[in-house]
Symmetry: none
Subunit: 406 residues, 2 copies
């Protein structure tokens, strides 16, 4: 019988040497006896999620980890954000991320409409009655967030944002980024949508109430991150595996949903520094009984990396390590420990630095590496691997691969 | 603020073990305390400029190092040679390298027309008056060298040489190498050019004078190395960086010019064994103030490799090392030390053997390698890298990279 696969993605775990940690990386500085034990039992290497030096986003990184070529299937964040908040999207749809914002005398005075919480459903209902000549769906998300989907053949996604990404300036006119007529058409429709949404929102009862209460009106929808929903073969179809994901953030959920994976909800998995690591590991372990492949994304390292907090990153890594004993009893299965990208505390953003990778399981060729970190794993038996190859390696080890040829 | 990038290409530095050097490579045998210090501070690896076992030319090798896929953009040497001697070429142009040669009674008796030095401008002027039914430019270069450019839509570059590459034989009729009509047309026009150039050169005053003085007449133009000028995005456009190159040889200059880089002239940089290494390093260091990315090509190792002179190669490497102290003070920047290909003294030509690669800079993950050479660098933190990835890795480290995705 085939074993199952657990791919644990410590979001943003990779880093660079930091002076305040005696020129060690946070992962090198952290006490990680359990991860080190995995490295000793396992086969190790370094991994470029997309390619050496290419800086992955959370979306493109997870696409690669699921075996898709992001250069072929990724055109923008919109479709994955839309899928992540539960909207049904179809290949060919054009999707945008949106904000409810506040416009006053032609200037965007608040990009988040004062982080509006109530009434967005009513605003959306009105927006969906606009006529822009094509089928579309607008769906509100958490607070000021929403997504917009154009459901029409022959539209391109290579258009610029309406969102100016700053306040105190006018909103932008979307422009095609190519000479392609499909893009021109999308930009024109989007600009019409912006104007008509503004019109319908300007005297909307929800906004009249907000103004009365001294709050910012949500009187414009600013779209950004245009992308085409890709034509991709779902993971179950491509691999024959039953697949699930545990992920706190909508963007990663969106990628997994679009890959045809089930999303497993975990109480207390917040996607923040306070996330319940124990609950996540426990739920993942349980899911291994039911699924052939489970992906787990835990976000904390990325957050402290973005904030430039080396010691906080060390502490979060030590928490990730401490709870690992929960995964005991999975010795018949294959578990990979890696990340989707580095988020070095000195960079305060994603970087293209390679990631440590350890695979444990009953039949791996262990390699003498004794520590799970960026520099120790280099000397492992996997050498340097591409993220797009990882799932194939795991499927092969666990008996889910299929012979190519005869 | 982003750091700058210096890519130092020691042309042909890679080698194989040589018996007369106690089975060490020239780089292993050379005393290189400064390069070894870089290896200790830096992150190391081996690099396949194009792909493992693929033998790079100077043109294809540098294209890869600048991040272009030579299999996609390279069709022949002509376009790069043309750009390297300062001719304006446009995407789609077909370019050939040419020699003024001597033909007597139907046989090529001297491929270099006795290394003609004077009068080539006058010969070119006459050649440019030939009518071959399309726009073209012929431009003389140094001594017997020149280039020919066909400026016409719908021409292919996949045609065989007119130059027989040996003496005592007739010149060749160019033939299409495919069934493509575009190639057939190019071959026909080139053959007509050859005949008409021969006619106009046969009784040219410059040649009558040469014959009177007992010198070889330059009475035929032999074309070779047909290639299409590629449609490529320039490096500044692709990367947003201000880019410059220091390179002694026209072919490498041509590649860099076509990539939109500025060429920096260095007095005493001859491209030969006598080149002024100190002046090159000094000028490169100065250029780092003005440019985001500087590529330096130093040719010496390749020359002694072609000549099969192991000890001469060792000595040149030691000179390269000795002057390296000039680069002190660039600690905030990222410097890569590598080559464009190996030129093993036992092969006396380029080879596909991988190259040593060391990257130093403020945030690299140093890796315990203590010597800069082919076999020590294997154990480094970069593992095995492709030349096409190197610039991405350097851009990521130095803060010039852009996130792909969100």
């Amino acid at each position: 019988m085939a074993s199952s696969i657990l791919m644990i993605i410590y979001d943003g775990i990779g880093d660079r040497p930091v002076k305040e940690l005696d020129n060690r990386t946070p992962l090198e500085a952290a006490k990680t006896p359990n991860l080190d034990r995995m490295a000793k039992k396992g086969i190790n290497g370094i991994m470029d999620t997309i390619a050496p030096g290419i800086i992955p986003g959370s979306d493109t990184g997870h696409l690669a980890l699921l075996g898709y070529d992001p250069f072929k299937v990724y055109t923008g964040r919109g479709p994955f954000e839309a899928a992540g908040i539960g909207i049904e999207v179809e290949p060919g749809d054009i999707a945008f991320r949106c904000n409810f914002s506040t416009i006053e005398e032609g200037l965007i005075t608040n990009r988040r409409a004062g982080r509006i919480k109530e009434g967005t459903k009513e605003l959306s209902d009105s927006i969906n009655q606009i006529d822009i000549g094509i089928d579309f769906v607008f769906q509100e998300g958490v607070e000021h967030r929403g997504v917009l989907i154009f459901k029409e053949d022959g539209l391109g996604s290579n258009v610029s944002d309406v969102d100016p990404h700053e306040e105190g300036v006018p909103y932008l006119t979307s422009k095609p980024i190519s000479d392609n007529e499909d893009d021109t058409r999308t930009a024109e429709i989007l600009n019409e949508f912006t104007k008509k949404s503004m019109k319908i929102l300007s005297d909307h009862p929800v906004n009249e109430l907000r103004v009365d209460m001294g709050e910012r009106p949500a009187n414009i929808v600013l779209a950004r991150g245009s992308g085409t929903v890709p034509h991709i073969r779902s993971l179950p179809e491509r691999t024959g595996m039953k697949c699930a994901a545990i992920a706190g953030i909508p963007l990663v959920r969106g990628v997994c949903l679009m890959a045809g994976m089930d999303i497993i909800e975990v109480d207390g998995a917040t996607g923040g520094m306070d996330t319940d690591i124990e609950a996540i590991y426990l739920r993942a372990k349980e899911a291994m009984k039911e699924y052939d492949f489970v992906l787990v994304n835990i976000k904390g390292c990325d957050l402290s990396g973005h904030d430039g907090l080396a010691h906080e990153k060390v502490e979060f890594i030590e928490r990730l390590d401490r709870e690992l004993k929960i995964l005991e009893g999975l010795e018949e299965h294959y578990i990979a420990f890696t990340g989707d990208h580095s988020t070095p505390v000195l960079v305060k953003d994603h970087s293209g630095d390679s990631l440590p990778l350890t695979i444990v399981g009953p039949q791996v060729r262990s390699d003498g590496v004794t520590s799970y970190d960026e520099r120790s794993c280099v000397r492992g038996g996997l050498s340097r691997l591409s993220g797009q190859d990882l799932l194939n390696v795991l499927m092969d080890l666990s008996g889910h691969g299929e012979k190519f040829g005869a």
